[in-house]
């Protein structure tokens, strides 16, 4: 599966400052019955976004036309809970290419990296600045430059750098994935496996 390359992203952002947003909220289990990867965006945050009669909940941020863009800014401990990669697919399928938080749950972060959605972990202070900037002006643009590992609030010029392993960075810049890498060392893996007792 080839993925989009990721280098620079300049976009407005959607603020969701709640903490501990778990993957059951991002995509409820009853929508996990597909056997394909596409189409999950419609059900992203389903139960926060829609009433039980499928009418949109007006006070939920994704239903507010003032906010939009390819960056989702979440609260602390974003993506906790289930390992369902469907959560990352839903985020991608809805149109986000980058998720920003002051703290990510492990598996969700991995899942994002594996489908070329960039998880950007910032300080709690910087996260607050982003939220404030967006609330001041929803047209505020955020710029993420993967090559430089920087995130900038363009209206204020505030900038922070973020971590990513050089291996994952290379993958995202080039649109490679782990299987491409592993295929190249398959004979090493086979040699290793032959020595395994169990």
């Amino acid at each position: 599966m080839a993925y989009d390359k990721f280098n620079t992203l300049k976009s407005t952002a959607v603020p969701l400052p709640l903490e501990n947003v778990d993957t059951d909220q991002i995509i409820p289990a009853r929508f996990l019955k597909a056997t394909k990867r596409e189409g999950f965006g419609d059900n992203l945050f389903r139960d926060w976004r829609y009433n039980s009669d499928n009418t949109p909940k007006e006070n939920f941020i994704l239903n507010n036309p003032i906010y939009g863009g390819k960056i989702l800014v979440g609260g602390k401990n974003f993506g906790s809970g289930s390992s369902r990669e469907h959560a990352a697919w839903a985020v991608y399928d809805y149109g986000f290419r980058c998720v920003v938080s002051s703290f990510f749950a492990d598996i969700f972060r991995n899942n994002c990296l594996n489908i070329c959605v960039l998880p950007v972990q910032v300080s709690a202070e910087f996260a607050k600045q982003i939220f404030n900037a967006i609330y001041d002006d929803p047209k505020t643009e955020i710029e993420v430059i993967l090559q430089e590992q920087t995130i900038t609030i363009l209206s204020t010029g505030a900038q922070e750098s973020f971590d990513i392993s050089s291996y994952k960075k290379e993958n995202m810049l080039n649109g490679y994935d782990d299987i491409d890498y592993l295929q190249n060392i398959i004979s090493d893996i086979e040699t290793f496996a032959n020595d395994m007792v169990f």
Binding site: E19, P28, T35, R37, E85, I107, N110, Y181, D188
Partner: protein
């Protein structure tokens, strides 16, 4: 150099270290189920790859299977389609498949250990976060996403940075009606749901040493709920005793050699952890959760904490209580319970049904409560019958369902209706986890039993 148990298992499975990147990590055993595997197989197909070592992968149907009338065709076409895909893919690629109705069918984290697929020192993954369960045997076991399922199928490896090491020590004697579930919920309430993120936990101390394998599995299962990638307990005689003679366990000389090796799997005396925590067994009460994440738990006799007393986001906390329709400082004892669910990979093993039966024995189910008793596997179901537990529960007015994940994630028909309260022995109380609008109180099988006969949150110590 001295090593922790985790280091020993991890390091012996690193095929290759990547400069500035993750380890290429070899996987001994891989479990798949119907929900997180279909897209991985699609990926394999589109790349034209085969499954490298099909004998290392095991498939079971559990997440969206019905828990009644399993002999009939599955009604929901989407679920049926996923189950069919699992069966077809398993057949095409030569993977053992334990589908609905199969003698070995059940929840992936119940059937793995039960059949001796899980073993000490193994590396085990599955597209399900509670794969941490298998750590009870001294395995490094953790949940992965679908892209990684595809990696394991194609290459038997995944790319993982090595987590940090944490030790959680609990010494002393557990009090009356305090079960492994309570120990785990207590630890999570102390650490919060992100307190162990980035770590792999080793549990040590009297409490875990004296625990059965079922109890250890419950504890390791819940490691993920404090953010840890996994948790593990060093293998000992209890472990070997459990595994000996299981259908896929080693036999004869191979078994003896394995046990000799497994005995070396423990943390060296002077090995270093990145973080160490110690708790006292005597501080732990039977636990119950009152909010919408597993960290929002408290001793059953306490009152719901004030928002000001909790660390972190007050808004998130208040939103959570509003969802539950609870208020700060209210006691949980006496709260209305509409549903009781006993099951899941956390508490769906034989020991859990024995515990449930020990309380309801000779009493009657409360009329106001709907109770779903769902064994974790077909094997557990058979044991319930053989041990006479079925008679006890039938006598008390309960019925037994058929194995599966059921109301743990409510992908099948077992959904808690909106607004209703469920005391559940499962692992997650997130908003809508057990059905849209459902409200979950996580607890042990003993607390579940007490609620099932009284219809309200009740301290199980009253019945012991």
């Amino acid at each position: 150099m001295s090593k922790t148990l985790f280091d020993k298992v991890w390091d012996s499975h690193v095929v290759k270290k990547i400069e500035g990147g993750p380890d290429v990590f070899f996987i001994d055993r891989h479990f798949i189920h119907e929900v997180t595997s279909p897209v991985a197989f699609l990926g394999l197909k589109s790349r034209g790859l085969k499954v490298l070592y099909p004998e290392r992968t095991f498939a079971t149907a559990d997440h969206n299977t019905p828990t009644i009338n399993q002999h009939l065709p599955v009604k929901d076409p989407l679920s049926a389609n996923q189950l069919k895909a699992l069966e077809d893919n398993s057949k095409e690629y030569g993977i053992s498949h334990w589908g609905l109705g199969h003698r070995k069918n059940g929840i992936v984290h119940v059937v793995g250990p039960e059949n001796g697929i899980t073993f000490p020192g193994a590396t085990i993954v599955c597209g399900d976060s509670h794969t941490s369960t298998h750590g009870a045997f001294g395995a490094v076991a953790f949940g992965i996403g679908t892209s990684e399922v595809e990696m394991v199928l194609a290459t038997q490896c995944i790319m993982q940075p090595k987590p940090k090491r944490m030790r959680i020590n609990v010494d002393g004697q557990l009090g009356k009606a305090v079960t492994p579930k309570d120990v785990a919920l207590y630890i999570i309430s102390q650490l919060s749901t992100s307190g162990a993120t980035g770590y792999f936990v080793e549990y040590t101390g009297d409490v875990f040493k004296n625990m059965t394998m079922e109890g250890r599995m419950t504890v390791c299962n819940l490691s993920i709920e404090m953010g840890a990638r996994g948790g593990m307990i060093a293998p000992d005689e209890t472990t070997f005793e459990y595994l000996k003679g299981r259908p896929l366990s080693l036999k004869g000389e191979a078994w003896d050699n394995a046990v000799t090796h497994w005995k070396t799997l423990k943390t060296d005396v002077d090995a270093q952890f990145d973080k160490e925590l110690t708790f006292n067994a005597s501080d732990i009460e039977p636990m119950i959760t009152y909010g919408t994440n597993p960290g929002m738990g408290m001793g059953i006799s306490q009152s719901i904490p004030f928002a000001d007393a909790v660390e972190g986001g007050k808004e998130t906390y208040k939103k959570s209580l509003a969802y539950m329709d609870y208020k700060e400082n209210e006691p949980m004892i006496g709260k209305q319970v509409d549903f009781v669910f006993v099951g899941s990979c956390t508490n769906g093993r034989i020991e859990d049904f024995r515990a449930f039966a020990s309380i309801i024995n000779g009493k009657k189910k409360a009329d106001s409560v709907t109770v779903w008793l769902v064994p974790g596997s077909h094997e557990v179901e058979l044991q319930i019958k053989e041990e006479g537990i079925l008679d006890i529960i039938t006598e008390a007015g309960f019925t037994l369902r058929q194995p599966g994940c059921s109301a743990c994630l409510a992908m099948n028909d077992d959904k808690i209706p909106a607004g209703k309260y469920a005391v559940s022995t499962s692992n997650r109380n997130f908003e809508g986890r057990q059905g849209p609008g459902s409200r979950t109180l996580l607890a042990s099988p003993l607390v579940a039993a007490a609620a099932a006969i009284t219809g309200v949150v009740t301290d199980p110590r009253e019945f012991i």
